[in-house]
């Protein structure tokens, strides 16, 4: 017999073991799904999670994919800690790319020392503007940030389409929906010459560490944690909820904007109609897999980057649709949330006879 009892306090062990358990369960479940689709389960999971790393430049592809996910996941860790549900990082990402990319297109002859830092600033500000609008609507008009941030994602996507097929379309682009290529100066520095290993790969972990310090070691971080765990206590302590909402939205929006700008300059080199393959939703999983800890977002971002590469590999090698990525991510988040039950509950195996004897003892 299984018996479930509350622990009273959070289990330290399961705090770190539960994401691992969730991962194992996700692997097993996906294997079963693949088997159900008539595919060899082991080979498919291997192709999905291991093969991409063994390819030539596999690690390089992984860190490039992970950089934006880590940046967005770090911002969301902060926001979700304070119960600020920004689910529109996709839109903030896109607006960052639009703003920074627009600057690059407007000044094609600008020198690198001027244009690239300016693009980073403008891209970040684009994301902050989008996030800030959500914060303002929540604070000023009490509008639910989940819905407004998501609606802004759709709106921003249409804005991108408008710009890329309309005024910003490359006149020499044979009618393709894309802008001109950014100048070499606007492409930004590379960590490895002639690759797409851009400085975001360095920035992402640095930002994670910075935000971890802020969250764990500063008064502001303490306020974030209190607001998330005990809203009433935060109010009694005089912490301004509005101020924290502003900070959460500006920081998570700004990081997403920066990620978008770096993705546009670092890996694409131009703006197209599809900048983000649902990075916004994936970043939510990154934040949860990392236990809403900015440092945790680093391994989590790497793992979810792997699911994108795995989706591509499964498509090329096994002929599976790369939507496999989405289903894997969804299952992972389900298990992550479900396994956290073990943080506060103990599952015991009790023999039936003991249950009966306990019951009879109680009856006496």
């Amino acid at each position: 017999m299984l018996k479930i009892e509350p622990r009273g306090i959070e289990s330290k062990f399961w705090r770190y073991a539960s994401p691992v358990l969730a991962l194992l369960l996700t692997g097993a479940t996906s294997g079963l799904i693949f088997a159900g689709m008539g595919r060899p389960a082991g080979l498919t999971v291997y192709t999905f999670l291991v093969a991409p790393l063994l390819q030539q430049d596999g690690l390089q592809a992984l860190v490039v994919k992970a950089a934006p996910l880590i940046m967005m996941g770090v911002g969301l860790s902060l926001a979700y800690r304070a119960n600020v549900w920004n689910i529109g990082t996709d839109g903030q990402f896109t607006l960052g790319a639009i703003c920074g990319g627009g600057l690059a297109l407007a000044f094609p002859d600008a020198p690198a020392w001027a244009i690239f830092p300016a693009m980073m600033v403008v891209g970040t500000m684009g994301g902050m503007a989008s996030g800030g609008l959500v914060a303002w609507l929540r604070i000023r008009f009490n509008a639910n940030e989940i819905l407004t941030s998501l609606m802004l994602t759709y709106i921003t996507q249409y804005l991108l389409v408008y710009l890329v097929v309309g005024p910003w379309r490359d006149p020499q682009g044979f009618g393709f929906p894309q802008t001109a290529l950014f100048s070499d100066a606007a492409a930004g520095p590379r960590l490895i010459a002639d690759t797409n290993v851009h400085i975001g790969i360095l920035l992402a972990p640095l930002l994670a560490i910075a935000l971890w310090f802020m969250l764990e070691k500063s008064l502001l971080g303490f306020q974030f944690r209190v607001l998330g765990q005990a809203t009433r206590a935060a109010k009694f302590a005089g912490f301004s909820e509005n101020r924290l909402v502003w900070i959460a939205m500006l920081v998570s929006g700004g990081l997403a904007g920066l990620a978008g700008l770096l993705e546009a300059t670092g890996t694409l080199g131009q703006l197209t109609t599809t900048l983000s393959p649902s990075y916004g939703f994936t970043a939510i999983i990154v934040a949860f897999l990392g236990r809403l800890n900015p440092l945790g977002a680093i391994p989590a971002g790497l793992l979810l980057a792997l699911t994108y590469l795995g989706g591509d590999a499964a498509q090329i090698n096994l002929g599976l649709p790369n939507a496999v990525t989405g289903i894997f991510q969804g299952i992972l988040l389900f298990y992550l949330l479900g396994c956290d039950f073990l943080l506060l509950h103990r599952v015991k195996f009790v023999s039936r006879t003991r249950l009966v004897s306990q019951a009879s003892a109680r009856a006496v």
Binding site: A143, N144, L150, I155, A323, G326, F334, G338, D340
Partner: protein, 307 residues
């Protein structure tokens, strides 16, 4: 002019139907105190389940049945994790949306760009032939009428029946309902499954009647608009209908104005319904006291029975 008006009204009602179906389901879910943000995912699952089944069997009613099952199965997944395992409802709903998108894209990969039987428009002798009123009121497919009937039943049940009273008690004070001997968690399971079935039905309407095709992410945020509609209605069924028609009209207009070739670029017009959602949400939410008055008090809160 009359022809334009008729086209406008007919299209508005059609565009409003998936919103209305999904929002009616979500309204019931929220009235028992559960916030399920997975509507978009359940709609997509319903859309592909209906489309694939109709395509394979050639029978649309089997497709509709498949959508009901798919939507409620996904909803039960949400229920297990958020109600039994008591995970955060917001996060679990997001997981459901992500899962539903992935699931539908995976199943739907083989169904892109192929036809399936579509729901026939009903033709009611005499009634359908009345000028203006005939096409506006009596020329739709069965799901349009079903959406209105379901809304009426839900409104009546919540307002005037014993079951509705229990639902409201669970949503407004689960501890009191529990103390009175009602099983809070099973009641929530039932409501969540019902909401999922209706979201699935909304998806079926998209893929069998409205579009009618399968395309990845074809619901395009309608599930989220449905969630917004529930807040807009202040959890009252009648206002859901008004809201659904309003957004249906907005969606039709953004398409219609594009077809007219107005100077506004079409991507910006396509953004109109989403801008409308934000604006309406802001206008409605402005009065926090009014929202608090109608909002089910237990919305989003986990329930754990204390022995």
């Amino acid at each position: 002019m009359t022809a334009l008006l008729v086209a406008f009204l007919v299209s508005t009602i059609a565009a409003a139907t998936p919103l209305l179906l999904a929002a009616t389901g979500e309204l019931v879910v929220e009235r028992v105190g559960v916030l399920n943000l997975g509507v978009e995912g359940m709609m997509l699952a319903g859309a592909i389940a209906a489309f694939a089944t109709a395509n394979e069997t050639g029978i649309t009613s089997l497709g509709i049945l498949a959508a009901l099952v798919a939507g409620s199965m996904l909803a039960l997944l949400f229920a297990v994790i958020s109600l039994t395992l008591q995970a955060n409802q917001t996060a679990t709903g997001l997981a459901l949306t992500i899962f539903g998108r992935g699931f539908s894209a995976l199943v739907g990969a083989g169904y892109v760009g192929i036809p399936a039987p579509t729901l026939p428009k009903l033709h009611i002798p005499l009634l359908s032939d009345i000028p203006v009123l005939g096409p506006v009121l009596f020329s739709h497919d069965i799901l349009v009428y079903a959406s209105l009937v379901i809304l009426a039943i839900v409104a009546w049940t919540i307002r005037s029946t014993h079951l509705g009273l229990i639902f409201r008690a669970v949503g407004d004070s689960h501890d009191a309902a529990h103390a009175l001997g009602y099983s809070v968690v099973p009641i929530r399971y039932a409501a969540v499954a019902f909401g999922g079935a209706l979201a699935g039905l909304a998806g079926a309407y998209m893929s069998l009647a409205y579009t009618p095709l399968w395309a990845q992410d074809m619901t395009a945020g309608r599930g989220w608009v449905a969630v917004a509609l529930v807040t807009f209605s202040a959890w009252r069924p009648f206002w859901l209908l008004i809201g659904a028609w309003f957004f249906g009209a907005l969606m039709y207009l953004s398409l219609y104005v594009q077809a007219l070739g107005v100077a506004i670029p079409s991507p910006l017009l396509s953004a109109l319904p989403y801008i409308g959602t934000v604006v309406v949400l802001v206008l409605i939410s402005r009065d926090a006291r009014r929202i608090m008055l109608y909002r089910p008090a237990m919305l989003g809160r986990p329930f754990q029975a204390r022995a």
